[in-house]
């Protein structure tokens, strides 16, 4: 099948076939990143704008490298030093950039729905790099890629996601993607950090870490956003860590070949121990490597339609 979408906003709307296409394409890009000349001319002369309204190390560098390795040109908009500060609207900013004929915008914003808003009026392709609490499709895809690569499949695996589910766009994208690809999803969080009714998405919910980890094939650990402590969503970091921190000891109930993931950045000793993060079950560094390949696949597939830039 060929890629037909102009925008990549959510994993919720993608079919299993579309997800598989991205993962298959990402495979060959992984090989490109291992060469000494890590560049292919596929998107030569195309222009990608990185529009990051929230701080980011991983996602931004990853998209930047992905575009550069495809020979595309990058334009980075530092929103804090852009005219958004003077009160220019998002849509006017978009129109300004489009007037300079750009092909795609990679958008991260603290408000959910911003990429969709831009997509509704945009001539260029919009790629969601994380919007508010809503979705982070490229992270979901690289997590799926990592699982598929290491485990050979996604279907039938038990995947446990531990952490602040309520505020996590990574969790949401992962849940949509994993269910679509046939995995069994288990969520574990304190009652204050998980939306009620989320079982309706077809996931298991538990507040007991031992139950959550028992028999798990994959564990995805989310960062505890320490600022949430101010909102009384958890009493102390120590208590969170004692009840929900993933340590080598607590992992003993999982499958013997369990794989541990974390989207980063990590709070070592809080949601994840250094022993686990640096241990044999961890694939955290691989996730980052795979992230570049997956983002190359996304850019390649999305910008493969000339009519987009006209």
């Amino acid at each position: 099948m060929a890629w037909n979408r102009k925008h990549l906003l959510t994993l919720e709307e993608l079919s299993a076939d579309e997800i598989t296409l991205i993962l298959d394409t990402a495979n060959s890009f992984k090989e490109v990143s291992e060469r000494s000349v890590k560049k292919v001319p596929a998107l030569r002369g195309r222009t990608v704008v990185l529009f990051f309204h929230e701080p980011s190390t991983r996602t931004r560098s990853s998209f930047e490298l992905a575009a550069k390795r495809l020979s595309a040109d990058i334009l980075t908009i530092q929103t804090a030093s852009s005219s958004l500060v003077k009160g220019e609207t998002l849509i006017d900013t978009l129109k300004t950039l489009e007037a300079m004929t750009v092909d795609a915008l990679v958008v991260r914003h603290s408000s959910s729905g911003v990429p969709a808003l831009l997509a509704s009026v945009s001539k260029a392709s919009i790629i969601n790099a994380g919007d508010g609490f809503h979705e982070h499709p490229s992270q979901g895809l690289l997590d799926l890629f990592t699982i598929r690569e290491r485990k050979g499949k996604i279907e039938g695996l038990t995947v446990t996601i531990v952490g602040d589910i309520t505020h996590s766009r990574v969790a949401r994208s992962n849940i949509y993607g994993l269910i679509k690809m046939g995995a069994k999803v288990r969520l574990c969080a304190p009652t204050t950090l998980i939306p009620s009714g989320i079982e309706k998405w077809g996931v298991e919910v538990t507040h007991d870490l031992t139950k959550a980890l028992t028999g798990a094939d994959v564990v995805n650990v989310l960062r505890l956003q320490l600022e949430r402590q101010q909102k009384n969503l958890f009493p102390t970091i120590r208590e969170y860590s004692m009840l929900f921190g993933v340590t080598t000891e607590r992992l003993k109930v999982a499958q013997k070949d369990v794989m541990v993931m974390h989207p980063g950045p990590m709070n070592r000793g809080v949601e994840i121990s250094s022993g686990v993060a640096d241990g044999p079950a961890s694939v955290i560094d691989e996730q980052v490597t795979n992230g570049v390949a997956v983002r190359m696949a996304i850019l390649f597939l999305m910008m493969g339609d000339k009519s987009v830039s006209q």
């Binding site: 099948m1 060929a2 890629w3 296409l21 298959d24 394409t25 495979n27 060959s28 090989e31 490109v32 060469r35 000494s36 000349v37 560049k39 292919v40 001319p41 596929a42 998107l43 030569r44 195309r46 495809l70 390649f300 910008m303 493969g304 339609d305 000339k306």
Partner: protein, 181 residues
């Protein structure tokens, strides 16, 4: 658009004989397998390269590397062509520098695939030389590319497609000309 087979130009034995002759020609021209490597252009070029490699090894009694190139990212229409299949891996199991590389493809037509393959090889290093072996040359070059070794010349019209089918992908070895109806 529905297609109809206009003619079957080569059958399995014809293909095998052509490959045997090309194997001998490669050895003759390059005086053996010293420094030699084959690179098949995916997908069917890879199959043919594997077969050629086996023949050369059995004729000469010497081993040498055979690899495969996926040229999807180097095509001059890479950004615009919609393809049914995702790109495959490029696998070059040798150091390109100083090697005499024979590129292998099923059909030589416009020459654009060969150009893309050359561009890709050069990103890996500086080969001593690149030669081109094809099973079929159907004419209509759009680039100044020529094949050093040709299985069969098949003049064709622009409306036709020349398809090489191989057992590994198509259950049969044959070369057919197909007309768009």
């Amino acid at each position: 658009m529905p297609e109809s087979i206009k003619a079957k130009v080569l059958d399995a034995r014809d293909i095998d004989r052509a490959l045997t002759r090309i194997a001998h020609e490669i050895l003759e021209r390059n005086k053996g397998t010293d420094n030699l490597a084959l690179l098949g252009i995916k997908s069917r070029g890879e199959t043919l390269a594997d077969r050629l490699g086996a023949k050369i090894r059995s004729i000469e009694g010497a081993d040498f590397p055979v690899g495969a190139l996926d040229i999807t990212f180097y095509r001059d229409d890479a950004a615009t062509r919609k393809s049914d299949k995702p790109p495959q891996d490029t696998h070059i199991p040798f150091d390109v520098n100083g090697k005499l590389i024979v590129l292998v493809d099923d059909v030589l037509f416009t020459g654009r695939s060969a150009r893309a393959a050359i561009a890709e090889i050069i990103d890996f290093g500086r080969p001593k030389a690149i030669q081109l072996a094809v099973l079929v040359d159907r004419g209509h070059r759009e680039f100044p590319i020529h094949a050093d070794y040709v299985g069969k010349n098949i003049p064709s019209s622009q409306k036709e497609k020349v398809l090489v089918r191989v057992k590994e992908y198509d259950q049969v070895d044959e070369v057919v000309i197909v007309e768009q109806a």
